[in-house]
Structures are given as C-alpha cells and as structure tokens.
Symmetry: C2
Subunit: 231 residues, 2 copies
DNA sequence: GTTTGTGAACAGATTCACAGCT
DNA sequence: AGCTGTGAATCTGTTCACAAAC
C-alpha cells in the first residue's frame, strides 16, 4: 500500500527499436512531469489544512483546473497510487511524488550572476519546502567578489569547479547577461554540473547528458502582448 | 513586398462551426507564438551584427535549434513572409513579427508586490527593446508606500484602478506571496487590466477575456530535479 | 455505488516531401 | 537551382468511456 522511493512500474508499450542502454523511464511527456509539481503543491496545501480525506481525481481536477482523466493518466505513468472506489491517500501520494520528482532529499545549487535578478533569486523563498539550497554564489565581475548576501560570499567564477566538488553542487542557476551566458554555461558544464536553470534570453548549447531549462521573461511578456493584440 | 502593420492572411482551413463573433486569428498553437519571440530575437541580433543577407529557414533552424520545417510552418500561420528561392528579408520579417506580437508600440505595465523578486523585476533590463515600461509599483504593505525605486514611488494597492486609467496600463506583473495572489488578481481585474504575468506559485482564477500567464520557479527547479533523478 | 487505471478514439502539433514560385 | 508554403503523413498528448477493484 505504501508507494515509496521507487518510480514504480514503467509501463513499456511500444518501445522504440531498443536504443542501446536505456536506464530511462520510457517516455513521460514533459508537461506531465510539470503537472506533478502542481499536484504535489495541492497535496501539501491540503495536508497543511488538516485535510485527511482520500482525494479523488475529480477533486484534484477542481483544485488544479486540469481534467480528472488527465490527473489519473499523469499519475498512472508512474504507477498505481490510488484505490479504486476511494481515491488517493494524501500523505502517500505526496511521498510518491516527492520520490518521483527527486525532492525527497535536499539539493545544493550554485547561483552564477549576482546582479539584480541574481540577488533577488538568492533571497527568494520560492525554493519550496526548503529542499533547494543555494550554497554558493559566483560572479565574473571582480568588484563583486567578497560581497556578502546573508551567509554567502560572492566568489570568482574560476572557483566554481572546486566549490561544486566541495559542496556537492548538482544544479546551477544562471542569471548573467546574454552576452556572457554561453561562457558561463561552459564553465558550469566543465565543473560537472548537470542541471542548469537559465534566465539569460539567449539560445545556449549544452552537451548531451546536461539538462538546460530556461525562464525567459521576454517571451512571457511578448506572449501576453500577442494575446492582448490578437483577441 | 513590404509586410507591415497588419497580421496578414489568417488562413482559414477547417473553421469550427462559426463561433458567434470571431475577431480572432483561427487557431495558432501557443508554442508557435512563443517561438516567434525567439525568431524575433535572432533577427534583431543578426541585424545588429550588420547581417543583411536574406535568411533561409535552414539558417534560422541552425540559430534556434528548431527544425526548418517548423520555422516555415510557424511563420506561414500568419502569412507569406518569404521569397521562394531566396529566404526571408531580415528587416521585413522583423517588422512583421513586431506587428504580430503587438510589440510595434510601447506597453505600460504595473508591478504589484515590491518584495525581493518585485524589486529585481523593476530593474531587470530584460524588457527587451524598451517596449515594456513599468510605470507604477504597488504593494499592500503600508510600510513600503512612498518608497522610491528609480523614478517610481510605491503606492497602495487601492490606487491601482485610478493609476491604471491615468497611465493606460494594460498589463500587470504580480510578485506577491501565494496567500495574497488571488486578492491581488481580483483587484487587477477590477481595474480593467487584461494581461497578467504571475510569479506566485498558486492556481489563480481570472474571468474570460483576461489572460494570465505564470512563471513558476518551483516547477522549473523540480523539473530539473526530476531529470537529474530519472536519467 | 464509487473511483481508478487504461485501451481506444480523438485532437493537436510536428515533420515529410514536394509542387510552385523566384 | 534554391527555398518557401503547404497538403498529407506521422507523431504526441489528451479525452473518452468502461472494465476492474474496492
């Protein structure tokens, strides 16, 4: 009844022609994984409100705005977490999602770029559940070296590899100008960091095995502009 | 040969059964529009580098990482901007995209929530091409009222409707805690603002005709966590 | 009776491949 | 000859609808 720690039952319908080494769960849509974060947030909220009733996909649908079928399908990619006729146990499902998302343990992050955005990200409380810790900050601007933010000291970018090793850093947040971004990314990759969240509005190259996600304010605002213009 | 100012030729293949009033371009995938911002950025970069050669979809493909077919299809949703055998004119296409995206004129924005993230967004230079101007800042915390950021003064949230009217504000950026977000959104909607970019990690309701986009740091980081965990 | 998990149907987006224009 | 614009084919993701489980 407990679904902990392992991503259960990767269903393997129509596998592609067997791609060499395949340590990966077959093929989960990116949007499914992102919705998992939403489900997880809802579960935390419900639990914090003392709600202990099993949760149906129908109720989750109302809380998230996704369809109930979508909720069930999303979860079913990873296993059978519910009880038919009953629903999903709030605590159990939460734990399962933590395990799937890899947030059942803390992560150490590096921040590169201590400008306006970077400093805001340092103090942003949005690293939910305290699982994500920025343990080092870097900047290529020497005038910023040694500056303190809380208990962090800004270091030269050249120290990244060493610090990453020392603190077991596995993700980096990049908040530098577009013109510097590729060089920074190269340094991060060279330091062995495999997950990067980039805020610079530019297309960047990473080698296979390194995951690069981007947040692009320009795209968001321009999309709103489009919607307001063409409606 | 010039493609200016109007979103040309909305191709209307299989229209749905004629939905009452339809001032809208038929049905453009959201991701298509977002890629338009990427294309636009590339064009600006090329132009700033003095590149004046016509641009093929193949070259755009190399610059953006999308396929050439995708580039052509995306653009073709909005009209015929290229010349067969030649490619797309950098200046003309730029102007067409500006027009489609609605960024051929400036936009006035309000910022609500002058915490860490909010203040960073105030000074963030990422509102590309200076088309997007934050002309007013609001906070519900009275201790922040009157505080200055550059030439902006933080005002009480109650002033939003009046200020929005005065300055013709049509978009708002929301950077408040999740617990306050829905109330803030309601105020923004009541002020007649129809485009909202939300940074609060919570599901929010807006009436039809109001566009709400979200940027959720937790989801981005948790998705990286997922990728690093399940690979 | 209720709600999950899932094949099958459907809808939507991407890619193919080529006719048509320059 | 070269490159766009676009039907047709393919691929991917979502929704339907119901048998299985409780």
């Amino acid at each position: 009844m407990e679904q902990t720690l392992k991503v259960a039952k990767p269903p393997m319908p129509n596998m592609p022609p067997a791609t060499g080494h395949m340590l990966k769960v077959p093929k989960i849509p990116k949007m499914t994984v992102r919705r998992l974060s939403d489900y997880y947030r809802i579960l935390r909220t419900l639990e914090s409100q003392g709600d202990t009733e099993p949760l149906s996909s129908e109720k989750m649908s109302r809380l998230t705005g996704f369809t109930a079928a979508q909720v069930r399908r999303d979860l079913a990619y990873f296993g059978s977490f519910g009880k038919r006729g009953v629903g999903y146990d709030i605590g159990d499902l939460q734990q399962s999602l933590r395990s799937i998302l890899g947030i059942d343990h803390p992560w150490s992050l590096a921040l590169v770029g201590v400008g306006n955005l970077g400093t805001a990200l340092l103090s942003y409380p949005g690293y939910r559940a305290q699982g994500f810790h920025i343990v080092a900050a870097f900047d290529s601007d020497a005038t910023k070296h040694g500056r303190r933010f809380g208990n962090l000291v800004v270091r030269p970018l050249e120290d990244l590899a060493e610090t990453a090793r020392e603190h077991n850093i596995s993700m980096a947040i990049v908040a530098v100008p577009a013109s510097e971004a590729q060089a920074v990314i190269d340094t991060i990759v060279a330091a062995g960091i495999k997950g990067i969240l980039n805020f610079a509005p530019v297309k960047l190259q990473v080698p296979p095995g390194v995951f690069l996600e981007k947040v692009d304010l320009s795209i968001e605002i321009e999309y709103l502009s489009y919607l307001l213009t063409n409606s």
